[in-house]
């Protein structure tokens, strides 16, 4: 039972190191604690409401006023001012007092009276696509409602229903599923949460590995390393990380969404069965990557900048069917790609375990693959350990001997 004793010793030491190293605490605990809260709070309003908009009504008719009144009443648009001409309206947009302009030309009323098509022009600042969406959706909604009435007048002898059926023999209905208000938080937060888990793990573990190498270069060796086989080091450390991240994941993936009322329609059994391979693959992935961490800090700089690309490459915002084959292949090397998609499917879309089979298989494959590569890294670091110790000891002895002479 020597091996079990060894693994336990490594486990204990690594746990101790993680909890008492201030740098590691930042990545293992502080970031997972704060970031999800911050992001959930930031995106909490889901969408932009009451976009400040100015109206330029050159028609000055009862219909144009009715249109503007109804648009103002929608939840997405707030008409903050009426301008005499476009010049004045543009000035307000340029000064960031408003983001959209509704322009009703003078011909609007004549066109309506002559039975022609009346045009309303909408202008949107493209600093954000959400302004565009808000003003277009609100105005379209209002115009469709008003059109029904006008059409009934124009088709002589037809009722409102008949005229509507005439123009639209088939009615089209739009149903957004799994995120019924097309909200930003519902779409973005689950992905951010899963990514936070992987990224903090990579940074924390990398930092610890870097520290150990730094010490080793200076001839300092942790006593618990001595006499352990690489595989014992691997198992001991990974169990330590796993025990920390089970708690972190419970907080990040269950408590935070619960507090912020995000969609959580998973089955416990499915979620657990999915998270186990995700955490394992993240751990072994981090251990593998930590093989290039030659000191504590360089590793942080090298890995932080990929966080945002990883969010994009996962296919959560930019659809994976449109990601070029090269980048899609690159994405398969990161547990976050499958983790994010699987978690969104299980958590937000109520998918069952069998629906996320491809992701599950990929994560287990990564667990095996990165488990093996992590072992290789550990074999290189710890396999020759005894010899290193002897060398260091000899060097010191010689140095002392030289001093003595």
């Amino acid at each position: 039972m020597k091996w079990l004793h060894n693994i336990l010793e490594v486990f204990r030491e690594e746990l101790h190191n993680s909890i008492f190293d201030e740098g590691v605490i930042v990545f293992f605990f502080v970031v997972p604690l704060l970031y999800p809260l911050l992001y959930a709070y930031l995106y909490g309003n889901e969408s932009v409401r009451e976009v400040p908009t100015v109206a330029v009504d050159l028609a000055h008719s009862s219909t144009s006023r009715e249109f503007l009144r109804k648009v103002d009443a929608t939840s997405d648009v707030d008409i903050v001012g009426h301008c005499a001409d476009m010049q004045e309206a543009k000035e307000l947009v340029h000064r960031h007092k408003a983001y959209c302009i509704i322009y009703i030309p003078a011909e609007f009323d004549y066109a309506l009276m002559e039975g022609k098509q009346a045009i309303v022009e909408l202008y949107s600042d493209m600093g954000s696509l959400l302004y565009y969406k808000a003003v277009l959706a609100s105005c379209t909604e209002v115009s469709l409602a008003m059109n029904k009435d006008i059409k009934a007048q124009r088709l002589v002898g037809a009722t409102k229903e008949q005229s509507d059926t005439f123009a639209y023999p088939i009615e089209y209905e739009f149903v957004p599923m799994f995120n019924t208000q097309s909200g930003f938080a519902t779409f973005m937060i689950p992905a951010v949460l899963m990514l936070v888990i992987q990224q903090t793990m990579v940074l924390g573990i990398g930092m610890m590995a870097g520290e150990e190498r730094e010490k080793k270069r200076r001839g300092i060796l942790e006593p618990h390393v001595i006499g352990k086989r690489p595989v014992e080091m691997l198992l001991g450390k990974s169990t330590a990380y796993l025990s920390i991240y089970v708690l972190v994941a419970a907080y990040v993936l269950c408590l935070v969404p619960h507090w912020f009322h995000l969609i959580q329609i998973w089955q416990w059994r499915d979620l657990l069965a999915f998270l186990v391979p995700y955490l394992l693959s993240c751990i072994f992935f981090s251990m593998t990557i930590s093989g290039i961490a030659y000191n504590r800090e360089v590793f942080i700089i090298m890995f932080v900048f990929v966080s945002v690309p990883l969010l994009f490459i996962s296919g959560i915002s930019w659809p994976s069917c449109s990601i070029p084959a090269f980048w899609r292949t690159v994405s398969w090397f990161f547990p976050s790609t499958f983790g994010i998609n699987g978690f969104v499917k299980i958590g937000s879309m109520g998918a069952l375990l069998r629906d996320v089979k491809p992701e599950l298989v990929a994560l287990w494959a990564q667990t095996l693959f990165y488990g093996f590569t992590a072992w290789l890294v550990y074999y290189r670091s710890y396999g020759k350990h005894l010899r290193d110790i002897v060398e260091v000891a000899e060097e010191r002895l010689q140095a002392r001997w030289a001093d003595y002479l």
Binding site: V26, N179, N341
Partner: protein, 393 residues
């Protein structure tokens, strides 16, 4: 690595020494050249022309008549939609969506054709997976357009036959029509929307980190006293000698992303190059200043670096380029003004996207420049650290 012996106190000596340091550690080459280039390449090739094409869509056609098939053929003609599969019933299609095979599906219930022929206005439903917001909203647009075209087609024929003119026909089918103008980005190109900020934001993150590393690694390597000696103890001279050669590299990297965005991809640059070039230059210098400031505030490599990381990553969402600041809760709206990237974004919108005269953006330029004061706040803390601190761990 040590430069040739020369007179202490010359800026040139410190610059030479810094260049030697930068060349001797691979982290500099990686973070200053390789990483930004990978980032530029990544974002611009990922989104390519800026609109996803052929998003897979499913169909549940319970009616399956020549008319419903005609409707579906119309849909398939849109560039952004590709009908990939027919499903037997609603449940199958929903499951396919849950698996991620399709992003949306049409549901045509039984009896649709019959109702349509008897003028009873049946309903065809379009379900999108809004958990994936971008494809869902693009699908929505295609569907809306198709609905307009398909519905109008039949009615138009009838009206023409009755002798109505084009004008009158449109007036009957759609009396009030919206005409949308997206200022500066008429094609709703997502790459214009996102890459314009993602690229500089990534560069900013790297600049802050590298600056902090360059300063604090002197302490860690135990060379900080030597570095200050070369400047005759003049802290600002030492700092200038260190940051100048890095600034040159950053300027080249900044110019590179300007070329990538505005020359290669030809993104809108309405006010011409210089306002944006100034914006980028300011962001670069401010990022360095911010790095120095964090070094002063937190005289420890790991802490300064950790805080820079958190600050830099938070800059992305809080600058408001994807989810607008207008929709933030009030405290975060105020907080966003503490992030240099916020001003970079505001200048970009004014200058590149909207092409406004400079005076509209003076305030933003001034605010961005104001961050340069930060490193002047606590220089002594860092100086003390450089002179006395022993790296223990």
């Amino acid at each position: 690595m040590s430069p040739k012996e020369g007179k202490n106190g010359s800026l040139w000596r410190i610059v030479q020494r810094e260049v030697a340091r930068m060349l001797s550690k691979p982290v500099y080459v990686f973070c200053m050249v390789v990483a930004p280039l990978i980032g530029y390449l990544f974002f611009t090739t990922l989104m390519g022309k800026g609109l996803p094409m052929d998003i897979p869509v499913g169909v549940v056609d319970e009616d399956n008549t020549s008319i419903t098939r005609q409707v579906l053929r119309n849909l398939d003609a849109f560039q952004q939609t590709a009908i990939v599969k027919q499903y037997a019933n609603f449940g199958d299609a929903r499951e396919a969506m849950q698996r991620g095979d399709i992003y949306a599906f049409y549901y045509i219930p039984k009896g649709t054709t019959e109702l349509a022929l008897s003028s009873k206005q049946p309903k065809v439903s379009f379900y999108t997976n809004a958990a994936y917001l971008i494809p869902a909203s693009l699908e929505y647009r295609d569907m809306k357009m198709m609905a307009e075209l398909a519905s109008g087609a039949i009615a138009r024929q009838t009206l023409y036959a009755k002798g109505y003119t084009d004008d009158q026909v449109m007036g009957i089918l759609q009396p009030i029509k919206m005409e949308m103008h997206a200022i500066g980005n008429p094609g709703l190109n997502y790459s214009i929307y996102l890459s314009n900020i993602l690229l500089p934001a990534m560069l900013m993150l790297l600049i802050m980190q590298v600056t902090i590393y360059a300063i604090h690694s002197e302490v860690k390597d135990g060379t900080s006293q030597r570095w200050l000696e070369l400047a005759n103890g003049n802290f600002y001279k030492a700092l200038a000698g260190k940051l100048l050669p890095q600034l040159m590299v950053w300027i080249v990297m900044g110019a590179t992303y300007l070329v990538v965005l505005y020359a290669y991809w030809d993104f809108p640059l309405k006010s011409g190059l210089w306002p944006m070039a100034l914006d980028s230059l300011l962001l670069i210098v401010v990022s360095q200043a911010f790095g120095v400031f964090l070094c002063e505030l937190l005289p420890s490599l790991r802490w300064a670096l950790s805080i820079a990381t958190l600050w830099g990553v938070l800059s992305f969402p809080i600058s408001g380029f994807s989810f607008p600041q207008l929709a933030f809760p009030a405290p975060l709206r105020s907080l966003s003004y503490l992030f240099p990237l916020r001003y970079y974004y505001l200048i970009y919108v004014d200058q590149a996207l909207n092409g406004l005269p400079m005076h509209y953006s003076y305030l933003w330029y001034a605010a961005l420049t104001a961050f340069l004061i930060l490193p002047l706040l606590f220089p002594n803390r860092l100086k003390k650290c450089l002179l006395e601190y022993q790296y223990t761990k």
